[in-house]
Amino acid sequence: MSEAALPRRDATVPAKAAKPRRARPIGSESRLVQILLIAVSLGFLLLFLLLPLISVFVEAGARGWSAYRAAITEPDAVAAIRLTLLVASIAVPFNVVVGVAAAWAIAKFEFRGKNLLISLIDLPFSVSPVISGLVYVLLFGAQGYLGPFLKANGIEIIFALPGLVLATVFVTFPFVARELIPHMQSLGSTDEEAALTLGASPWRVFFSITLPNVKWSLFYGVLLCNARAMGEFGAVAVVSGRIRGLTNTMPLHVEILYNEYMSAAAFAVASLLAGLTLVTLALKSLLEWRYGDAIAAARHH
């Protein structure tokens, strides 16, 4: 089988876009059934996906453009945006390094306990965000196991940036690794082995063979990781302390505004996050086009 074309059966991560369709198979449903199924699918999507998204933008614009601008340029909102970007800019690179390392170890080697390791990496994905916040409170809170030590040394973790970063790293931990592992597995190690045999240094092999091979999956993992990092609510809510202008991230700011009867402003900030989502999805679709071409090219060789 042509390895690169293998569709992935991995967790957490969506697959590549539809390949160019072949001619319709002999057996196929009647036109009526087709229309019915399409209608069911679109109705389902409309009800559960598109309406919420549309409502965010409608509500955000409910009080006009100037109110919208005021809501997102207000100092607390700006501070929240800045904090969210800062948290993501620490958490995402961290997860990239760890994700690449984990993918290398898991995809290129066979060792005992590998399935357990994969499951442990996946674990944060299915852990309730509330629990991810709770564990850090138990560990670093003033009443927690390390609380007295941290206090004695004047180190702040929860209700400060490190706590927000930790909680975010926790919830986005699997994203990059989960994206890379199946891709690296399907590529195999022959290229790297050949290069090593020809005398290339290990780092050079990594940077000029492995990384370019998986760059699109990596980028894709980063996108999802980033979107989740910026949008995380439950875990961050537990460790934030909600100090306006200081430890309030964008999703928390949305909730605060919503609770202040400023629903237009809340939805305005929410629309920024939703906009980010749309950009992420657009980038992803773009990626799939390019990636799809790359696969096709690989096939022709």
Binding site: G141, A142, G144, E156, F159, P162, G245, I256, Y261
Partner: protein
């Protein structure tokens, strides 16, 4: 295996370095003359105004200026927990004394007799519990007795997480004790029926108000008086009516200095002045304007004072023996709320 383990050592060093970098950023970000007021849900508008007035007042008279007063809002119990878990609050301004008691007991950051350190039980303003109904009062709700009628939907937050909801619950309880002449079985029956009419239990007072006003759910919102006035102001005088019951409870939201935190930060003078400022005529006027009942009504605009109807009020100490007793009896695990709450199937 020897080389990789050395590499791993280097690597863990890198990871630790990254972590300590995070700590460094935060340690450097601490500003000197900032206060943090950890408060409960409905006080956002009040403290926005108070803070501006206090900063102007303080900076006019002192060389060491206060730049900002940071606010953190949430359910009263949740806010108490964050302070216990280490949030560096200079002052706490919560919904009920029980939550500040919990901070004193569990974190030992302030003395147990904190409530004696400021006048009026450390509560510079009070409020009470009223009913917010839809315009024209379609279900004809006049008093607590109407709340247990079948088909009346009551919105209240969860007493387990919301301070306001605890006042709601105790106000209902006080009414029932009076109406049924302290017949415990009848009181419990009344509360049980009332709770059976509650379709949504939000975690905080604000969530409950939103559910009632913006989501169009329920016939009646049990709310702080200030919250009810604010909701009318925000969503239109023509959409809701306030119904004042025959009897309610005197809610005293207290304020306190968190000694250990202000001493560590060197902000004791500012924080103390901040709390005392709440009792000044200027602050009392702001308090009345934000629909809280001021301790000193003479300082406020008579127009604001005229908003407050006369209500027969019981006190937590008089009717329930104080929070130290009321909290475990009614809201602890296995307390009356747990016993009487049987959701409709």
């Amino acid at each position: 295996m020897s080389r990789p383990s050395f590499r791993r050592l280097v690597q863990s060093g890198l990871v630790l370095g990254a972590f300590s970098l995070c700590f460094g950023i935060v340690a450097g970000a601490r500003a000197q003359t900032e206060l943090l007021n950890v408060s409960y849900d409905p006080t956002r508008e009040l403290y926005r105004e108070i803070n501006a007035a206090f900063i102007a007042d303080w900076n006019a008279r002192n060389a060491k200026k206060i730049t900002t007063i940071r606010q953190s809002h949430g359910g009263s119990g949740a806010q108490a927990r964050t302070v216990i878990d280490g949030l560096n609050a200079d002052v706490v301004t919560l919904a009920l004394a029980g939550d500040i008691d919990a901070i004193a007991q569990r974190s030992r950051k302030l003395p147990l007799d904190w409530q004696k350190r400021l006048p009026d039980n450390a509560s510079p303003y009070t409020s009470t519990i009223v009913f917010l109904v839809r315009k024209g009062n379609p279900k004809a709700i006049k008093d607590w007795g109407d709340l247990v009628k079948p088909g009346v939907q009551i919105i209240t937050p969860n007493p387990k997480t919301s301070g306001g909801a605890r006042w709601n619950y105790l106000a209902a309880w006080a009414y029932a004790e009076k109406a049924f002449d302290k017949d415990d079985a009848k009181v419990r029956d009344y509360i049980g029926k009332l709770l059976a009419n509650v379709p949504v239990l939000d975690t905080g007072a604000r969530g409950a108000t939103t559910t009632f006003t913006q989501r169009g759910t329920g016939d009646l919102l049990l709310a702080w008086e200030n919250e009810a006035f604010l909701a009318k102001k925000e969503f239109g005088q023509d959409k809701f009516d306030i119904v004042v019951p025959s009897l309610s409870i005197l809610a005293e939201p207290p304020v306190a200095l968190v000694d250990a935190n202000v001493d560590a930060k060197g902000t004791r003078a500012e924080a103390q002045a901040y709390l005392e400022f709440l009792y000044t005529p200027k602050a009392q006027a702001i308090i009345a304007r934000n629909f809280y009942r001021p301790r000193n009504p003479e300082a406020a605009d008579p127009k604001d004072i005229a908003n407050f109807p006369k209500v027969d009020l019981v006190t937590i100490d008089g009717a329930f023996g104080g929070w130290a007793k009321a909290q475990p009896t009614h809201f602890g695990d296995g307390g009356t709320f747990d016993q009487l709450y049987k959701p409709a199937r």
